[in-house]
Structure formats: structure tokens, C-alpha cells
Amino acid sequence: MARAQRLLISIALVGATLSALHRAPLDDGFPISTYPMFASRRGTQVELEYALGVTARGQTRSLPASFSGSSEVLQAASIYFDAVHAGGKRLAPLCQAVAAEVAADPDLADIVAVRIVHASHESLALLLRDVRDVEHLRWGCAVTR
């Protein structure tokens, strides 16, 4: 391989990687990324859609991200977000799929229903004092065993 060819490959790959600096910081891509994670200015409020398991006594419990169809937390958040914003056509099958996962899990034998909710919590209060804001119901379904 000629030196010019090696130089061209080097410049092309490093240049392509650094080209991310010419894009808007939030215009992420793959594998050429602007790496916006943990970079944005943020408050401590976390606004999210997620699923809750409900016991016969009405107590609620978080359900594993994997019940959404993805075990990756951020992808699971995205799945719930998309479903909530798409409405009942997406929410109903998603809720049923989560309920089926609950029914198959012996550790969740006390869960009788699933709620898909939207909430905005103050993250420090949630983590340090377990203080939760109101969780607004977006869809609900029963767990059938």
C-alpha cells in the first residue's frame, strides 16, 4: 500500500470522526457521534413514561425494563414514550405484553394489574427520600394467570 493511500485512509477516518464537531451538538449519529450524553444543561426533574405492577391492595411496584421488549433502560423508556404518544392502538398491546411477562414471573405473583403511567419526579427527592410525584394513568390492564 502506497504511503499516499495510507495517509488518505488516516485523514478520512479521523476527519469523519471529527466531523461530528461541525454538526449541532444534539444531532447525534452512529458511529460518528457528537457524544451529547451527560452534556446537556439539565435540572433534576425526570419526566418519564413507565409501567407499574399493582397488587390486590393497590400498592404499586416498578417492573423490569425487559418487560417492555428491551432490557436496555433507555430503549425501554423510548418504547413506553412512543406507545403513550401513539395512543390506545399501541398502548393496549404493550400493556398486555407487560402483563403476560408479569404472569410468567413467579416473583410477581402478587401483581394483579399493570398500569402504564406518565410522571415527572424530582430525581434527588426520589432517590434520597423516596418521594414520588403523582403518576398519571395512561393505560391499564389486568394480569391473567
Binding site: 485512509i9 488516516s10 433502560v73
Partner: protein, 293 residues
Amino acid sequence: MKRLADWWFAPAPAERLAALRIAIGAYAAVYLLVRLPDLIDSALLHGGSFEPLGVVRILATPLPPWLAIAITVATIALMIAFALGVAYRVVAPIAALALLWTLSYRNAWGQPFHTENLVVLHVIALACAPAADAWALAPRKPGGDYGWAIKLLAALTAATYVIAGLAKLRLAGWDWLDGEQLRNQIAIDNARKVLLGASPSRFAMPFLEHPSWFTTFSVLTLVIEIGSPLALLGRRVGRWWALTAWGFHVGVLALMNIVFPYPLFGLAFLPLLEPEVLVRRVAAGIRRRRGTV
């Protein structure tokens, strides 16, 4: 200019580049194998969550699940052949393209995983280099230049860290250094885990109660990220930077429970080290053990 070219094209042994091919190729194959259940889950997700990015932008709708899964399995086989150095000039570019496609597809479901960018860039760079002139199942005759390719891998590592550092200044400005932004990011990340049934970091809680720590963490983060090009200046500074950057990822794991396996296993920093020396030591140890048995 000549000094720059001499530095970039400084000679290096074929075995060093070969060791990088084996380590990075094997990592990619094992990573895909371990992630196979997640990759299959992604292939089965609802089309409404499909947000194509990178090369996957050529698709308007997701692939049929069987095809996405078949491509993933083929990519694993190709990465194994890549690591072994089989028919490298043909296999390596195909393997690199397959890895680019498979991981781009996985990232096309609403959330890019920044843990996977660098391995793809490294595999593409290795595919363009004579990385199978040694320690390959079908080695080609050594005699090429290898130093530039190793420098290229190291430069790609440094470039990704610089971009990550500059992103913080571009998005949050110098305020990012006061620690509040980092503390908020860590709190939100852990809260999201709690709400979505995943494990938050236990180490984060005491730090979240004492915000002053985060000023130190923020300054260190930016020094490591923006200072990454210094690692290219020499072997010793490269080793020190690699060690501190590895420590940074240990910190991310401790405070956010986020695993960046490529740097945590040292692969991201391997081009700054002498991996062939380690391979030779291991091989010599095995030979000695066999000799004494």
C-alpha cells in the same frame, strides 16, 4: 510537515497490529454473542419505535426480524474470521461493514448506545490496514508498514474523547465545570433506573448528598476528555492517559451503573500500549508450563 509524517509513519512490528486485530476482533465477536438476546429483542420491536440513524437511514421501515437476526449471526461469524485473520483482505472489509450495519441497526430504536461507537471505528480502521501479516491463520508475507495503522487507532480513541469533552462545553458552557450539571445527570440517570425496574448505583447516593464532590469529578472528566490527544505524544504519557481514562470509566460504573465494556476491558486504550509483548509473555508462559509437564 516531514516531522509530522515521520511521526505518523514511525515503524512498528507487524505483531503489534496483529495483536490489536485479534483483541478487537475477538471483543466484537464476543460482544455480539453476549448481546445476541438484546439484538434479537431489537429485531422484534414494534416498527413505530424505529428511528434509523447512520447507514440504517437507507431503510424507511425495519427489516423483517428473520433477516435482521440472520445478519447479526453472520456478523458474529465474520468477526471470528476477522480475528483469526482468515482471507483478511476480503473478509475484513465485509466484517467491518457487517458490524457497522448490525450495531447501527441496534442503535436505531430510539436510543443510541455510546458504548459501541469506538469499536466500530476501530474495526473499520483495522479492515483498511495490513493487520493479518502476522499471527493469522493465513498470514500474508510481512514487510508492510504497520505503525500508521496503530497511530490511527490511537487517534480515533483520542478523537472520540475530545468530541465528548467539547460536547459538554458546547451544550452547557463552562458552567459544566461547577459540578451541578454532572450531579443532575447522575441523579436523573439513577432515578430513571429506579422507575424502570433496573438497579441504581448504591455508590451514587452518598455523593448525591454532598454536591461539592461533583466539581472535582467534572474538572477531572473534562481534563481527561479534552486532554486525550496528549496520549499520542509518547508511550509514557499514553500509558498514563489510558490509566486515568480507564479510572474515569470505573467512576462512571460506580456512580451510574453504566458499563462501557470497550474501555473497561482496556480495548479502547490498547493501541497506546504494546499488546504484542503481553501475548508473547503469555505464549512463553504456556511453553514453559508445557516444558515442565
